[in-house]
Amino acid sequence: MGAGAGALFLAVFLACVVEAVEATTIVLAAGTSRDWRSATTGLAAALGVLAVVVGILGPAVSALPLTGLRLVVGALLLVFGLQWLRKAILRASGLKALHDEEKIYAAQLAAAAAGPRRRAGLVPDWFGFTLAFKGVLLEGLEVVFIVLTFGTNQHDVGLAAVAAGCAVLVVATAGVAVRAPLARVPENTMKFIVGIMLTAFGTFWGGEGAGARWPGADAALLVLIPGIALFAVLLVAVLRRAVTSRGGGAGGAGGACGGGGGPDGGAVPAAAREAA
C-alpha cells in the first residue's frame, strides 16, 4: 500500500469510526430503553435505505468531472475539517468540555424513555424504531459521503469502502459485545486526528480543484498532514497556557462553542447535542 493509499485508508477509517460510535450509541439507547426488536428493525431499515442511496449516488458521483468534484468536496472538507479541528483544539486546551459518550448515552436514554409507546404494523414500538432509524440513516449518510468523495477523489473507492467497512465492523462488534456506550473509545483524540486529516485532504483537493498545482503532487499530503498536526498541537499548547494563566476552563458541556455544525452534528437529539 502506497503512502497516499495509506493516508486514504486511515482518514476514511477514523472518520467512519467516529460516525459509527455515534450511531451505535443511538441504537444502544433505543434498544435498552425501548425495545430491541424495534431498534434492530430501525437499524435494518436504515441500512436498506443506505444501500439504495449508494446504488443511486455511487455511479452519479463517479460520473462527475473530477476537477469540479475536487473543488466542491475540498471546500466542504476544509470547512468541516476546520470546524472539527477548532472544537478538538478547544477541548484539548480546556476551553470546551470533553465529548463524553457516557453523558450522551445517559441523555439519549432519558429522552428515549420519555417517548410515548405506540405499535405500528410489525414494529412493537414506533418511537424506538424511529430513533434507531434516524440515527443510523444520518450517521450512515455521512459514512457514504466520506467513502464516495474520498474514494472518487483518490481514484480508489474500493479501498475507501473497505476502510469504512472495517470501521463499522470494529465498532458494531464492540457495541454488541459490551451493550453499553463505547466510552473507552478515545473519541476526543480520534476527532482531533480526523480534524487534521479532513483539513489536510480539504486543503489538497480544494487547491487542486481551484487550479493550484501542488509541488510533488500526491506527496504534498505527506507534508500537509504532519504540518497541520504540528500547528494544531502548537495552538493547544498556546491556549492551555492562556487558560492556566486565566485560571479556569470549561466547567460543563458546551464550553466555548454552541451546538452542532459539521459532520458530527448527526441525529443526536437536543438534550444529547448539549453534551456533544
Partner: protein, 72 residues
C-alpha cells in the same frame, strides 16, 4: 411547508457553516483567490496553507474571547 423549509435551511446552515461563519467565508474567499491566481498562471498552492495558519488561530481567539466573556 414554509416552516419545514426554514427548518431545513437552518439545519443546512448549521451543518455546513457551523459554529463560526468566518471559517466558511474564509475558505470560500481562499478558494476564489486560488482560482484567480491559477487562472493568471501564478503559483497558488501556498495560499490555502497560509490561510489555515491565519484562519484557525483567529477562529480560536474568537471562541476563547466569547468563552471568557460568558465566564465573566
Amino acid at each position: 411547508m414554509a416552516r419545514r423549509a426554514r427548518a431545513f435551511l437552518a439545519f443546512l446552515y448549521d451543518f455546513v457553516v457551523g459554529d463560526d461563519w468566518l471559517v466558511a467565508a474564509g475558505v470560500l474567499a481562499g478558494l476564489a483567490v486560488t482560482y484567480a491566481l491559477s487562472r493568471a498562471s501564478v503559483a497558488a498552492w501556498w495560499l490555502l496553507p497560509l490561510l489555515l495558519v491565519i484562519l484557525l488561530p483567529v477562529s480560536l481567539w474568537r471562541a476563547a474571547r466569547g468563552s471568557s466573556q460568558r465566564g465573566g
